[in-house]
């Protein structure tokens, strides 16, 4: 399970790194906690408003399109594909970190490229979803869908959807940029020169966080 260390180890008396991790890695964890609270605040506000509202659109009715399938109703299929793409890119990221532990520069390159492709694929899917919904008349302040019980829906639905998925998409985008920078640094041999691939690990933490947030966004908007 957790790391085993000799008993009586003094972690805060100086001379060693508390928690036995590198400073940058610990700070990345702290940053991810703060970002988790921000996303959490958004999702909680969404949840509170939704729970306080009498009628709400049925996600199975709203999110049922698939690119290239015309008007065929495929509820949840497209968003499942997006989830699968993001989880796959998380796997390739972990494999990149693993390759870094073995100082295998070539393998790190391979896995980072796959991760970047996965991230771009996800962003493309999200862009398609947004374009499609916009084409149906949805946008901030405009909600063409009606509630599951037939009553007129509030614009809260689309406002929250676009804001939260947009905020998440922005994180995916910045994650892709960071991954590209990591790839370039790796190709230039910066990590091989240093002797460790810790930066890849930190970028990996950020990428997994992005995946984690998507898991919750997917659940809140599409399943619940």
């Amino acid at each position: 399970m957790a790391q085993t260390i000799p008993a009586g180890q003094k972690w805060w008396s100086g001379g060693k790194s508390p928690f036995n991790v590198e400073y940058g890695k610990l700070m990345m964890w702290y940053f991810l906690m703060s970002d988790a609270f921000t996303f959490g605040a958004f999702l909680i506000s969404y949840g509170s408003i939704r729970f306080a509202t009498n009628g709400w659109p049925d996600p199975n009715e709203v999110f049922r399109a698939f690119p290239g399938m015309g008007g065929l109703h495929l509820p949840l299929v497209f968003v499942s594909l997006m989830t699968f793409i993001l989880i796959m890119s998380s796997v390739t990221m972990v494999l990149a970190v693993a390759a870094g532990h073995q100082n295998d520069q070539k393998a790190v390159t391979k896995w980072m490229i796959l991760t970047i492709i996965g991230g771009i694929a996800f962003l493309s899917c999200q862009a398609w979803e947004w374009t499609h919904l916009h084409g149906e008349g949805a946008w901030w302040g405009r909600n063409p869908f009606i509630n599951a019980d037939g009553s007129k829906a509030t614009t809260n639905f689309t406002n929250f959807f676009f804001t939260i998925t947009g905020f998440h998409g922005f994180h995916v985008f910045s994650g892709v940029i960071i991954n590209i920078i990591m790839l370039i640094k790796n190709l230039r041999g910066d990590f091989a020169k240093r002797g460790h691939y810790l930066m890849i690990e930190k970028a990996g933490l950020y990428w997994h966080f992005v995946d984690l947030v998507w898991v919750f966004v997917f659940t809140c908007f599409y399943l619940l």
């Binding site: 399970m1 991790v21 959490g40 509170s48 009628g55 699968f84 984690l212 399943l223």
Partner: protein
């Protein structure tokens, strides 16, 4: 499973196995598929009831989150204190979420009970009684 931390000069360290990574992937995929199957069954037959269904989604989502954090982000293999730092804050946050959702539900109940007008207004049907939104391509002139 302990991980050896070296500066990269060792050549006889145990082979870093990627098995746990793929195992976690299959678990995550499996859980997602279970969620989708549940959603489809509920869509077709109405079973299980929405409340039970939501509870199951939440448990499965937490399971996914646990695996991503523990294995992909490697937290399971860090020092206990670091695990606690993250875990304790996260647990308190989970309660935060539950409390606010509960509060939202309570607000709805109270408002429906004491604001008759609001309750009746929310029962009014939307102008388009067909129930479904029309894709833009099919009926260009439909009401938005």
């Amino acid at each position: 499973m302990s991980t050896t931390q070296t500066a990269g000069s060792h050549h006889h360290e145990p082979e870093f196995s990627t098995k746990p990574i793929w195992r976690t992937f299959w678990i995550l995929l499996g859980i997602t598929l279970v969620e989708l199957v549940l959603a489809t069954i509920h869509l077709k037959t109405g079973f299980p009831p929405k409340l039970v269904l939501n509870g199951m989604y939440l448990i499965l989502t937490c399971a996914k989150a646990f695996y991503i954090i523990a294995e992909f982000m490697h937290l399971r293999h860090e020092l206990k204190n670091l695990i606690m730092t993250i875990g304790l804050a996260a647990l308190l946050f989970v309660w935060f979420i539950i409390a606010f959702l509960w509060d939202g539900g309570s607000f709805k109940e109270l408002r429906n009970r004491y604001d008759r007008h609001h309750y009746e207004m929310s029962k009014e049907k939307a102008p388009n009684p067909e129930g479904e939104h029309e894709p833009a391509a099919k009926k260009p002139g439909s009401a938005e």
